[in-house]
Structures are given as C-alpha cells and as structure tokens.
Subunit: 439 residues, 2 copies
Amino acid sequence: MMIKTLHLNRDKKKLELFLKKRQTDITEVMPVVERICEEIRINGDRALLKYTKKFDRWHAGKASQIKVTKKEMKEASRKVDAAFLKSLKIAKANIESFHERQKEGRKTWHQEKRGLIVGEKYVPLEKIGIYVPGGKACYPSTVLMNVIPAQIAGVERIIIATPPSPEGKINPYVLAAADTAGAHEIFKIGGAQAIAAMAFGTKTIPAVDKIAGPGNTYVAAAKLLIQQKTNVGIDMLAGPTEIVIIADEKANAGFVAADVLSQAEHGADSAAVVITTSGKLARDVRREIDKRIKEPDHSRVVRSDIIAKCLAENSIIIIVDTIDAAIELANRIAPEHLELQTARPWECMEKVRNAGAVFLGDYTPPSLGDYMAGPNHVLPTAGRARFSSPLGVDDFLKKTNFIFSDRMYLKQSQETIVRLAESEGFDAHAEAVRIRIEN
Amino acid sequence: MMIKTLHLNRDKKKLELFLKKRQTDITEVMPVVERICEEIRINGDRALLKYTKKFDRWHAGKASQIKVTKKEMKEASRKVDAAFLKSLKIAKANIESFHERQKEGRKTWHQEKRGLIVGEKYVPLEKIGIYVPGGKACYPSTVLMNVIPAQIAGVERIIIATPPSPEGKINPYVLAAADTAGAHEIFKIGGAQAIAAMAFGTKTIPAVDKIAGPGNTYVAAAKLLIQQKTNVGIDMLAGPTEIVIIADEKANAGFVAADVLSQAEHGADSAAVVITTSGKLARDVRREIDKRIKEPDHSRVVRSDIIAKCLAENSIIIIVDTIDAAIELANRIAPEHLELQTARPWECMEKVRNAGAVFLGDYTPPSLGDYMAGPNHVLPTAGRARFSSPLGVDDFLKKTNFIFSDRMYLKQSQETIVRLAESEGFDAHAEAVRIRIEN
C-alpha cells in the first residue's frame, strides 16, 4: 500500500495507464443537479430554503436569514485569534502586490491612422459570485485567492456563497477572510442550489455575471450546466489537485517526501508524481514517506487514511535518464503544481511549457504558494495548463473592441470590404458601405 | 411581417419577452453528437471517413486524402482573382497591427523582495484547431480572424478543419485565406466529427490543445461536450449574431436601415435592435428598410427570405426618452455588436460597459469591422459580453505562475503559513515548511 516506482523507458504501458485516469466524471450527478437548478430557477428562495434544509440540515425560517449579518461578522472577528488575523493580513498584502502587477497592461488603448481609430476598452465585471466550500472543510485561503483579484480588477459587487452548519453558522475563519479580502455580501448557501441561485438570481440572492470558486462534483456539474443553459460565466472546470516534483540526485529526500504528503492530504483523489534521475533518491523518498507515516506524531494528522489512499492509487515515482526527459514528461502532464528541486532550477524553468504554478529550489514548498507568496493558488488541473492560466485579474476584467472611421477612410476601404463581403455572399454588408459613400 | 416598434416605458412586458429569447438550445442534438464523438474516439480515421461520407456526401477512399495538398493550395490560388487576394492582404495587415498591439504587456515578468521571487511566464499554446464552416457558406474572413491572433501569439501548429463538398473540394477563397493567414495544415472534415477528431486525435488528425471557430448547433454541442469530457479547451460558446444600434434624431435612417439589413442577412435567427430617442427616426428606418426590401435590386440579395424572417421575429425598434436610457438598455443586453450613430458617439462610449465591439459614428458600418478594420470579429454573444471578451491573442497564450524562496524568506514566513494551514486542518502543509527550517 505504498507509492510505486516506475521507469520511464521500461514501464511505458503502466505509465500511460497511470497518466490517463485524470478526468472527473460529472455525468452521474448531472440529472440531480439539473433538477435542483431548474427548481431554483422556477421557485427561487423557496427552493433554496428547501435544499438548504435537505443538504445542509439547516432549517432557516425565512430567506432573509440566508444573508450573513454585520453582527455575525463582528462575532466572527472576536472568535478568531490575533495570530490568524495577522497571518491573513500578511498573505493579503502579498497577494495584492502580485495581482496589482498582473493588472499592468490591462488599460484601454487605441491606435489611429488616416481616419481610422481602433482599440480595446477594459472594463471590470460588475457582479461576481464566489463559491467557498464549507461543511467540515474551512478554506480562508480560497476566499483570499478569489476575492482579491476581483477586488483589484474593480468588480463592484463580490458575493460569497458558502454552506452553513446545521445551526446556520459559517466558520469564523472564513468570515474573517471574507472581511479582510473585501467581499461585499456573504450568503449561507451551498451545493448546486447555490450555483443556480447566483446564476438565475432569487429575491435574496443577486444574479451575477460570473461564478468562480472550487467545489465538489455537484458544484462542478452545476457550473458546467449554467454555462450551457444560461449566459452566466464560470472561472474554470476544476479537477482533483495534483503535483509533479522533479528532483535530481542532489535533492533532499525529506523535503520531497514532505511535499508528497502535503499534496496527499488534500484528498484521496489528489495525485503526487515524483520524477527523478536518481534511483537512490527514489528509494530515499519512499523511505522518508514511510517513516513519516509511521511516526507517532503522524496520528495528529487526521487525514492519514486519505494520504494512504492517495499514495497507493494516485501517486507514483518515475525514474528517468535525464532532467530534460523529466521536464518533457512534466510538460506532457501539464500539472497544476510543478516543483523543480534540482541543482539549477532556473535553467529547468526555461524549458517548462505547461504548468499551473512552478516552485523553484529546495526552499519553496507548495504550501508557501498556497497561502502567502502572492501568486494565485487557483490553477488549471487535469492537463488544462496546456491551454489555460491560473485565476487572476484577467478573469474579472473584460475587453470591448471599438472602431471609428471617418468618411474618407471608409471610402478608401470600400473596394476591400465589398470584395470580401461578396466572396462570402453578403451583399447587404457591401451595401452598408456603398450607401454611406455614394450618397 | 415587418420590424416592430416598442416603447421602453409603455411596452415593458413585451420588451422583457423579446429580450429573454436568446439562448441556443443544444440539448436536442446532444445524443447524436455524443454518439459521433464516442465513435471518433474509438475508431479514429475509420469513423471520420464514415461520417464525412454520411454528412458531407464525400466518399474519400482513404484517410490520407483528408489533408489538403500543396497542389490543391496552388490550384486554389490560381482560381481566386487578384482583387480578392489584394483585399485579403489589406485586411491581414490591419488585423495584424491590432493584434500585435493587443499582445503588448503579455510578457514574462517577475518581482523580487527579500529572498522571494514571484512572477508569471507567458507561453503560446502549442497546437490549435480552427473550425471553419463550409458547405454552402464560405468565410475567408473567419479564417483571418482566427488564424492571425494564433500566429501572433506564437502558436506552433495551427490546423484548420472545414467540411468538403461532395467532390472532396474546399472553397478556393477559404484556402487562399488560410494560406495568407499562415495556417499550417488544412483538413477536409466538418461537423461534430471534426471537433472530436481534433480533440482526441486520429492517425491523420493531430490532437490539439484548444479548438476555436464558429459552427452550427452540432459543432457547438461537440465543443461543449469535449470541454466536459476531455482536457481540450474551447474558445467560446457562440450564439446567433446580434446588433444593437443606438441612433438619435440626427442619425441617418438610410444608414441605420442598411446596417439592420446587413445584420439580418446573417440568418433568420440573428437579431437587430434599434434603440432611438426619436419617433421620427423609428418611422424613417422602417420606411427605409421597407423601400430597400422592395427594390428590384434587392432580388440580387439571395437571402431576402432570411432577412424577412429575422426582421419579423428577432428584430425590433425601441423608443426611449434619453440617450442615457438607450445606453443603459444596451448595457443590459450586452450585445455582440453595438453601433453609436449619435451626435457625440465618444461621449456615449464612455458609458458603454457591456458589448463585444462598438462602432462609432455615421461612417463605421459593422461590415468595416467584420472584414478589415483590424479588431477581431469573433465576439461574445447572448449577453456574454457582460463577462467575456472578443477573441484575441489572449486566447492563444497562457500564463504559468512561478515562485522561488530562499531559506531565510521561508523561515520568516513560517509562522504565517503554519497558522493559515492549521486553520484549514492541513498539518502536512505546515510540516513541509517546518522540515525545511528546523533541519
């Protein structure tokens, strides 16, 4: 029941098989999710209360109770300790600094020549809904990573949806993070019903323009459905979290093992892949993982069963001949997280093409990036780093093209437009130019 | 059977009804599309040949014939006239100039402080598939608008899929445009089977990272499906084309009418909405449309039945009290195309929040933008301009976050990371920091 080791060249088939099984299947939950969404669309708050009672076991007397009050916010800030609040603020400052820089170059511009003006106008989205998982889980870092880029983009109204406890409470750490990050409203709703409520709008929940944030299969299915059935946007389709660690013979096996375990505690379906040029390191990493799991201290780690399952089923050590082969394999996997624990990490970085986020050197554990380095921790999964980017300011901004032409420029362009329009059989397109020039 | 006129204040209900019916429903075709995609996934080229025969009525002897040859490219360039080629080149130059400027600010950067380096690496996508509709339609402009931004982003391999005629031919205008724009390979495949082939890859068709380009309901359904079932990206979900024209009492009714007609010839399901402060202009526009439709010259326009249907069912003139009310309504509709035929179009532009592309003044017909002004003509539809942008260089680039920390920075950060990790119950995340500092 431990992490397996494969050789890139010797175990081609096994490796292919391992690399293939990475898609979350939402087909099974879709019929239920469709029913929930349809009911929210038709019955609004009434359906929302019904499903909150059913799934979150909270019986809210009326819809107005769904919104977190100022009093509740104050209570929460009293419940969390000063060290936590200080940590939030440090993290916030770093995340802000990164996303402020990211926003550079996102400014309205135009170019002008001989009577033609063309350009792009940048506008922040108006209303954003952010889903934050709840129940047993508590993710203040998710709140920061979603709300801060929206804030910096200039979104006017940022609402959070997060499921309540059976007593109708929201975790105080989540509320404190929402307050620190600058969310405008928080609603005690979860699951597919929360996504539908933010997409369609109810009397209590505002209809938003786009929904961001992670969630379970039901949430993922609801996001996919509303993207298909409504004109509300979503951030990305997120699969289970994953990491690839490239380590050479000089890497510290203890560090690698610790990062594998920190990846594994996310969930049994998360994946940790170590790619190394060193058979010795592979053995050392296995031994270190084994040692840590057996430590009495490890019993503290409530998630040890989850870790064991992740290691046995979704994790692997791959031995390759060269660092270049390691990077090539990582580019093919296009992992959410990529670590470069190699002698010359910046040289490797030059060759990295597909990854959500890269962690360079021995002293950059992913947990530094998860919580406070600044770059966003919402990253493309399941190979989507081949074509998509981490969450950021761009997800909360949009562009509008604009064009102005004077009569002279249009006249000069007439022949070109008419010729191209005619090739497509669009006579009225050509006519719209002619009438302006010939009258 | 003509375009109707409504008053914003008097006809609220009718207007709501009109504004609501804008979503393309792909539910009906989905089962067929699922079957086609699954067959392509399993049987590759064999299934591709089968469906090409079935839907495009072309019986290709073997899969290798699917690829357009250099000889065919040369033949095409002989078939198209010099004026067309010249027009293509002028359009290309403008489109390039706009997208080159758009790329500015998309450069790898980093910031450094006290042992922490964070940044973003920009990388072009590697393999792109572009769908170009075929059959009776012929859209060289679509080729330019999709291929050029991919080229400028630096995509290594740009392939085009476009359905063949029953003789296995591709329209020479499309081939000439593909050549001018710099596409690398062209395949004679269409419909859902083309999307599936580019997503899964077959012996003949390379598997791509992302698929762009417009198409019918089957193509749209296939794009949605592969986005859900595979880890291949898509550009956007496109609905029928639409325009909002804001016109004040000074606007030229003939110009407005011409633009309504040029919108209408796209298809019966396309929509033209005129919003005006002037009852007189509303009447004049109706009269001008009527006159044009009845002109003997109009019989030239093969699409007159399509135009009539679009005008009667999906188009409308709305009378409002003020230009501000017009802009507010346009922002709510968030149209693909927005025209500002007003006395002070730049002032109006300041207030435009949601639109794909804006055409300012009397001498900027949408056809100028469709073909050659430079900005992309692939625009968000069905209200998606509230949260998304026109196609552009950003769709063919992606970012990777990177983080480097030295031991000292990590040590200083330990408390913050540990406190936040503990609030989320992630002990191993905290441990990954501790082991690096305490050893």
